[in-house]
Amino acid sequence: MNKIENNKAWFFVIPVFVVVAFSAVIPLMTVVNYSVQDIFGVNSAFWTGTEWYREMLRNPDLQAALLRQFAFSFAILAIEVPLGIGIALLMPKKGWAASAALVLVAMPLLIPLNVVGTIWQILARTDIGLLGWALSESGVDYNINANAVDAWFTIILMDVWHWTPLIALLSYSGLRAIPDAYYQAARIDRASRWAVFRYIQLPKLTNVLVIGVLLRFMDSFMIYAEPFVLTGGGPGSSTTFLSQALTTMAVAQFDLGPAAAFSIIYFLIILAVSWVFYTAIMTLQKDKSAQQ
């Protein structure tokens, strides 16, 4: 049978192609364009190749911001994931109490980012803020504008308050999806409470937790508004995270070339970490024999 040469079906891809072009390819390519040139104005651009990239990778300020960024992201993940699961386990399962708990837990998620920053900025003030006042009254020398440890502590506490509910809600929905038969079988197998958590609940939560961790990693790695409002990146540059360093460079100093190169590196780091994490989790679930 002769194959009919007709590849018109490719035209069906056009709508998706257009959407993706406008949503991702064109903006991203604009950045790529800036990152390999030095542009002074219309008609005065110079090709720089990988120079901006090399410069950015060697920049000690950015290296420090990157380290800070990783420290922050891992710290909040290490707190929010176990805490979120714990809250989900404690939440009531049915009746009006379940609805009430869901609304209460979800509340922080509904607050805009810069409002969260403002709330905590006021909360941390030692004169009128409840947290700052209580700490200084109890003898702690608390000042987020002078003490880097205090600033870090407050930012992490703020992020935990704001985003643990996301993990809790995801885990809660995952827990609700476990059929009763699993718990019944576990009772018949005489499993302890810990074994039920370790071998039934946690494995069944894997998928929602992968989503949760990826979302939280990406979001926290891009965090901007909250620390910017709360500490402005200080004291010094102790809470200046990557996005803030980038914004300073691109908007305040208008160094579009280096900022563009930096954006690409930033993007690739998030992509790489997410990919490694996802692949690692998926490999864990495979058979050992199948890997050999």
Binding site: P179, A181, Y182, Q184, A185, R187, I188, D189, R190, A191, S192, A195, Y199, I200, L202, P203, K204, Q285, K286, D287, K288, S289, A290
Partner: protein
């Protein structure tokens, strides 16, 4: 080893049951003997899963007692009852290997060395034909293998005296169903364990079980061998539910001469007539299985004129609908038997025509 006795057992899910319709299980007495293979058969919602969960301890009965070897078990949780249960959907521990799944109940129980566990797990895996899969992650198995793992967790325990199955073949492919059913039978023969198997499929029930308990509206209406359930249903529901198609029923009038239907006298023994009269009930039904109705062309003393309305050829047999006065009687005849056109006659051979008063079978006493 245990004999499971249900004593004046009843269960209602509502706190204040006001009538019999509030009960999932209506007052019943029943004994499951040690080592038997039983099926609990019935339509959806008849209370069979509730009854199973009462035996395993997942549900506490609102009235009556559950006795294991005469010992009251009502308040004991499932983990203290020495039973195992296999659920409708395979329950396996996803992250564990098949080996760890099978070893799990033993490790929880404690007091076994790893060598003892290995020996027991290997033995059970061998019986279940899972030896080749022991190192695999349980979540990557097929549905029937997973169900075997669920079952295996019951078999590894030395102290298990009964395994309860709650429609365990629901998610299994049809071709694999009979193999797993055979496996269950072999396991039953090899281990001296009481098995109770809940299903709504009469074929599954009769291939698996020595004796079937048929449940209807919260009660066991008949407990007997598959043959007994087929040949002499104790309740009209048994006649209707067992067999394909179910029993033919029609309602005769009781007169001074006997039972009259469609203007014809239908002979039954004097003893039975006497019992019907004494019951004083006017809910009288006659029932006969389609397999036992005779179909012919000529009319004789013992047969009744009918009209053939439909013939269904099912490949291995024919199913003929005949109009017998106001009712349609189904007749099942061999593939090669010629079917008369329109006018025909049917007969009800003696031992197979059953009489029901108030839905219950009335039998002549055996001398």
């Amino acid at each position: 080893m245990a004999e499971i006795t249900l004593k004046t057992l009843a269960h209602s899910y509502s706190k204040k049951p006001s009538g019999p319709e509030d009960y999932a299980i209506r007052k019943m007495e029943h004994v499951w003997a040690q080592g038997g293979a039983y099926a609990l058969l019935g339509p959806s919602g008849c209370g069979k899963s509730t009854l199973l969960n009462i035996i395993s301890g997942l549900v506490t009965p609102s009235e009556g007692d559950v006795l294991f070897d005469g010992k009251r078990m009502n308040e004991l949780p499932p983990e203290k009852r020495n039973i195992a249960q296999v659920f409708q959907f395979p329950v396996i521990y996803d992250t564990m290997t098949v080996y760890d799944n099978l070893a799990f109940p033993l490790r929880n129980q404690g007091g076994f060395s790893e060598a003892q566990i290995r020996e027991k797990v290997n033995e059970v895996a061998d019986v279940l034909e899972l030896s080749g899969e022991l190192t695999r992650k349980a979540k990557n198995l097929s549905a029937d293998q997973k169900q075997k793992v669920s079952m295996g967790r019951g078999l590894v325990r030395e102290d298990v005296t009964a395994i309860l199955f709650d429609e365990p073949l629901t998610v299994i492919d049809p071709q694999l169903k009979w193999r797993l059913r055979r496996k269950l039978k072999q396991i039953h023969e090899r281990f001296d364990i009481t098995m109770v198997y809940v299903t709504h499929d009469q074929l599954e029930a009769s291939t698996f079980a020595d004796k079937i308990a048929l449940m209807y509206e919260g009660q066991i209406v008949q407990f007997g061998t598959p043959q007994e359930l087929f040949e002499s249903p104790a309740h009209t529901f048994v006649g209707y539910f067992i067999g394909s198609p179910g029993m033919n029923f029609f309602e005769p009038r009781l007169t001074g001469e006997g039972l009259i239907f469609n203007g014809k006298h239908i002979p039954v023994s004097e003893q039975i007539l006497d019992k019907i009269r004494r019951s004083g009930s006017d809910n009288i039904k006659l029932g006969i299985r389609p397999e036992f109705v005779t179909l012919g062309a000529d009319t004789s003393e013992q047969s009744y004129e009918v009209t053939v309305t439909d013939i269904e050829d099912l490949g291995t047999y024919q199913l003929v609908d005949v109009e017998f006065g106001p009712v349609t009687v189904k007749v099942r005849i061999p593939e090669d038997q010629p079917v008369p056109h329109e006018a025909a006659s049917i007969g009800f051979p003696d031992p197979w025509l059953k009489v029901y008063v108030d839905e219950r079978l009335v039998e002549a006493d055996h001398e």
